[in-house]
């Protein structure tokens, strides 16, 4: 039994207009060990975000089950904290009170949550922006608020749904460095969804490669690059080999979603 167990999970739903059954995920099984950083890559629309929503219990599986530390997850809770691609900050709250949101819902006392919020805001490097509102911050800063908010409830698992997908390439690379720096401190269990292969390899202990719709796991690749990693690791031959291997697996899947045949060479 792993820390987080996804057991034979399928997700089907009816499309609103055509009312036809749509299979988003098919027989997905995945075990994540405590302290492991797992990334999930796949073509868009492969249901990788749905997988994360299922773990968060914001969606419920059609069949199969999800267990965290042996207990089946049935409802959202602060043992799993999410970081969203669109940040999902509350625009009427400043940085401090956005970070406090999760702790408020968890029932942490005002004094404790103020202190904890300040600690996590400092950790993501936003100490001077506590009183700023989301619309006064850049995208990268907003997502650091999202990360601080998620960490502040001290979850067992951090669920990150393409968290850097809305950021431009340079910021994105630096955010990944930042995430590893934070993760190295307490090695929280992380499930990280992305469609960026470099990001997936750079961060991961293990990369899960998913097929085009319906989403299935087609390969699990262990990344044996030394830690702590800096950005230069992306220029090593080992990194290139992982990149090549994953792109090989994904290319066919992406082509199938686009109905493009492989180019004859």
């Amino acid at each position: 039994m792993s820390h987080l167990d996804v057991e034979d999970v399928s997700l089907a739903y009816r499309r609103p207009l055509s009312n036809e059954q749509f299979l988003a995920l098919e027989n997905v099984s995945l075990g994540v060990e405590r302290g492991e950083l797992v990334t999930v890559v796949g073509p868009s629309g492969c249901g990788k975000s749905s997988l994360l929503m299922l773990i968060a219990a914001l969606l419920h599986p059609t069949s199969g089950s999800i267990r965290l530390s042996g207990r089946e997850v049935k409802a959202p809770g602060s043992d799993r904290a999410m970081v969203f691609q669109d940040f999902a900050l509350l625009p009427w709250r400043n940085v401090l009170s956005n970070v406090e949101l999760g702790m408020e819902l968890k029932g942490v006392t005002p004094a404790e949550r103020r202190a904890a919020a300040q600690r996590y805001i400092a950790m993501v490097g936003l100490r001077d922006f506590e009183r700023h509102f989301p619309h006064q911050l850049s995208g990268g800063m907003r997502q650091r608020v999202g990360i601080a908010r998620a960490l502040s409830v001290e979850p067992e698992v951090l669920l990150m749904d393409e968290p850097f997908g809305a950021l431009d390439a340079q910021i994105r690379a630096l955010m990944a460095v930042e995430l590893l720096r934070i993760w190295e401190r307490d090695r929280k269990t992380i499930v990280f969804i992305t469609h960026d292969i470099d990001e997936a390899v750079y961060l991961a202990d293990r990369v899960i490669v998913m097929s085009a719709s319906p989403g299935r796991i087609i390969e699990t690749i262990r990344v044996d690059l030394p830690r702590p990693r800096d950005l230069d690791v992306r220029n090593t031959p080992e990194f290139a080999a992982y990149r090549h291997q994953i792109w090989g697996l994904l290319e066919e899947q992406v082509r199938s979603t686009l109905n493009w045949p492989a180019v004859a060479s």
Partner: protein, 253 residues
């Protein structure tokens, strides 16, 4: 630029007051019909010093706030409930829209029959006038609450009440405030009309009394008092809106 606009804008007001003063005080047009500014000011001072203005304004203010505050509270609760519970909305929407569209002034006589000539009927009139715009705007506001806000709150395990208090209510507050501003305008009109129709005391009652006596200056004083009150309420709500809602800029971008 802003100060220049203020100067140019107040120019028309100053010119208007000056012309009115000249035309009225020289009896170019009969001053008992149109009065003139200096006489209006004198009349206002007289009405204030006898306590006539204060005691009647107090009655009207009471009627207004006793009707308005519950209208806002019930309007918000009803608006959120209707927005969230689809079946309730399907059931009640046609009825509520019909009542909202109906001119409340037409109901004044029957409300007086039901609730008497005193303050109760006026309180009910204010309540009805303000309730519907607040409720309808709250519904609109809830519909505009962005999905990421509720998703964020739900992801931390919030129950329905917490989703409402942490995401839906603050997220629809700007629309609710707009509904309150609309409600102030309607409630003031209906309150004055109701008092003019039949009442014991109140600003509308004074309007009615001085109209039958064809006393222009007193009526102008009362109109100034009424519009000052409405203007103050709306300005206060706008100020409040700007204080709580700088985040709306982000959504408008």
């Amino acid at each position: 630029m802003a100060s220049r606009r203020l100067v140019v804008g107040s120019l028309s007001v100053v010119v208007f007051l000056a012309l009115w003063q000249i035309v009225g005080s020289t009896n170019l047009i009969r001053s008992d019909l149109i009065s003139y500014p200096s006489e209006v000011v004198a009349t206002m001072a007289k009405m204030a010093s006898t306590g006539e203005l204060g005691s009647n304004a107090w009655v009207s203010l009471n009627e207004f706030f006793v009707g308005f505050v519950p209208a806002v509270i019930f309007g918000i609760v009803a608006g959120i409930a209707l927005a969230l519970v689809r079946r309730l909305r399907l059931l009640l929407d046609p009825l509520l829209i019909a009542i909202y569209q109906a001119p409340i002034i037409a109901f004044i006589p029957i409300l007086v029959v039901w609730f008497g000539v005193g303050t109760t009927s006026k309180i009910v009139m204010v309540f009805i006038s303000a309730f519907f715009p607040v409720m309808i705007n709250t519904m609109t506001g809830v519909a505009q609450v962005a999905e990421p806000w509720t998703r964020a709150v739900r992801s931390f395990g919030a129950n329905t009440l917490q989703v409402v208090s942490k995401a839906i209510l603050p997220g629809s507050l700007p629309a609710i405030m707009a509904g309150m501003r609309l409600g102030v305008g309607r409630a003031v009109v209906v309150l004055i009309a109701g008092e003019m129709y039949v009442s014991v005391m109140g600003i509308g009652r004074l309007v009615q009394v001085y109209s039958s006596a064809a006393r222009a200056s007193e009526i102008v004083v009362l109109v100034v008092v009424i519009s000052t009150f409405g203007f103050a309420c709306v300005s206060f709500l706008r100020w409040l809106e700007n204080r709580i809602g700088p985040w709306r800029q982000e959504l408008e971008q």
